[in-house]
């Protein structure tokens, strides 16, 4: 693991460089996080998902898009040859799930990258400036919050046309408002603290204060919230796929796979069940990870 000398170097109360201070801080967080066993399980699941996506070509034993002989290999039950059986196109379900992890991961990553900054920017600006800026930004947020996410995403996809890219854009557009609310609430408590007054007294611009002082303090609770929302985002993506509005066939998207297996659920249960389990496990992983992150990052939940 980690040597005693290195550990002391990381945990010293008097770091000698910027790097050591930052690494020490990260190590402290890691120690707190790693004590939480369920959170470690969540982290393990998420890391496994990432590894699966990266090495999909190596892990998957068959081609995910092209099946075997339609007469001999259709709807085979799980066996040593086909770990999770095959579907109605005679494709190996395990291979499809492995490749499908790429789609899931892409959805999760892109939504996080698009929605988090929008939410943070809107929320911190509204909270920090107050007044009419706050009113305008928050009313826009309210409009987005007024619609159920899936319905709004459906409307966007219907307008933009079905496809995984449009599904991601639709989910991202519909998931930032809660982050904006959260960031605003955090900003309101941070805004009046002495350390913000102190940096204002040093002549810092609003942009500098927002970016360098307010955002880092909002970031942790927003990250926690985003992680906890990941399960919902995966389910929304799967839901869009199920309705045929997300990833288009023959892409191995998990939601679409369930939809495809729906017709055979009584006689060939594994076709729909296997991707269902995948969705369940990954959602659980993100939830556990989010809970663990909240314990170490969110000071209010800690006390």
């Amino acid at each position: 693991m980690i040597g005693a000398a290195r550990r002391d170097w990381l945990l010293t109360e008097a770091p000698a460089s910027r790097r050591q201070a930052r690494l020490g801080q990260s190590y402290r967080l890691w120690m707190a996080f790693s004590r939480n066993r369920l959170a470690m399980v969540g982290l393990g699941i998420v890391l496994a998902l990432v590894a699966m996506a990266i090495f999909a070509d190596v892990i998957a034993p068959y081609d995910p898009l092209r099946g075997g002989g339609l007469r001999t290999a259709r709807l085979l039950p799980p066996s040593a040859e086909h770990l999770m059986g095959t579907d109605d196109q005679a494709r190996d379900i395990f291979s499809r799930i492995v490749h499908g992890s790429r789609i899931t991961l892409m959805v999760v990553a892109l939504v996080a990258v698009i929605a988090t900054p929008i939410g943070l920017l809107v929320g911190t600006c509204a909270g920090y400036f107050g007044g009419w800026v706050d009113t305008v930004l928050m009313r826009i947020t309210d409009v987005f919050l007024a619609f159920p996410r899936l319905i709004l995403a459906l409307a966007f996809v219907a307008a933009l046309g079905p496809g995984i890219e449009n599904a991601i854009i639709a989910i991202a557009i519909t998931s930032w408002p809660p982050y904006a609310r959260l960031a605003r609430a955090e900003t309101l408590t941070i805004r009046d603290t002495d350390h913000i007054a102190a940096i204002r007294l040093q002549g810092a611009s609003s942009a500098r204060i927002l970016w360098g002082h307010v955002t880092p303090l909002c970031l942790s609770s927003v990250i926690v919230r985003v992680t906890l929302d990941m399960a919902g985002i995966i389910l929304t993506a799967a839901g869009l796929g199920f309705l045929g509005l997300g990833a288009q066939p023959p892409q191995p998207e998990w939601g679409a796979m369930i939809a495809a297996g729906r017709g055979y659920i009584i006689d060939y249960w594994w076709v729909a069940t296997m991707p269902g389990i995948a969705i369940f496990v990954v959602s659980l992983g993100f939830n556990l990870l989010g809970d663990g992150l909240r314990d170490i990052l969110d000071p209010k939940a800690r006390t």
């Binding site: 109360e13 910027r18 201070a21 002495d194 007054a197 102190a198 040093q202 002549g203 880092p216 303090l217």
Partner: protein, 255 residues
Amino acid sequence: MTLLSIQDLNVVFPGKSGPVHAVRGVSIDVTRGESYGLVGESGSGKSTVLRAVAGLAPVSEGTITLDGQTLGRKRDRAFYRRVQMVFQDPYGSLHPRHTVDRVLSEPLAIHRMGDAEKRIARALDEVGLGQGFRFRFPHQLSGGQRQRVAIARALILEPEIMLLDEPTSALDASIQAEVLNLLDRLRVERGLTYVMVSHDLGVVAHMCERLSVMEQGRVVETLTRADLRALRATQPYTQRLLAASRGFTRADPVT
């Protein structure tokens, strides 16, 4: 020569149940190089006066003049080179995620001052912390050390005026003595002007040559240090403060 002049200052905050008149017609002249005290209890408006000077509280009426120039509604960057502030709560006045290094280098970056390395090293030495503290986070510092960092942060811009808002009231008595000595020494070495707010007459008598006693937003009395030490207070409120500062007396002294 007057460096900072406050004339007929009024501060009104919008409150939930009507406006709150926190400061009512306060006038103070602070001479260059002196240390001026504002004494009062909570709600007397003493901190609000400081915050109004710093631009953190709205000036409803009256004028604040720095070196002959009247300050407008917005303070410019040059103002902050000349006036800096130290806050009361050492736990709230440092950003919890920033190292001492970042706290001290940021003002230098804002004002594009060169020699950051040298200036930071000097500031840390001056407040008696030394280089070993440079890369610590606030949670790795004691209350007194944090307050020293806050003083270093204010000093690094080489201001002329330091606004001190109860800088030692959250500290233990022994730490308070160290920080007061530090502030005293810095004033002499750098020729600083202090405006210090405190509820503790002992602290103000130690630090300030002149002081104003405030009650409910008004200045009730202005005294010199000699007046205070000789207990020459004319206002009953000041006399009550003086009596209370001696601790508890079993029988009410007949005055």
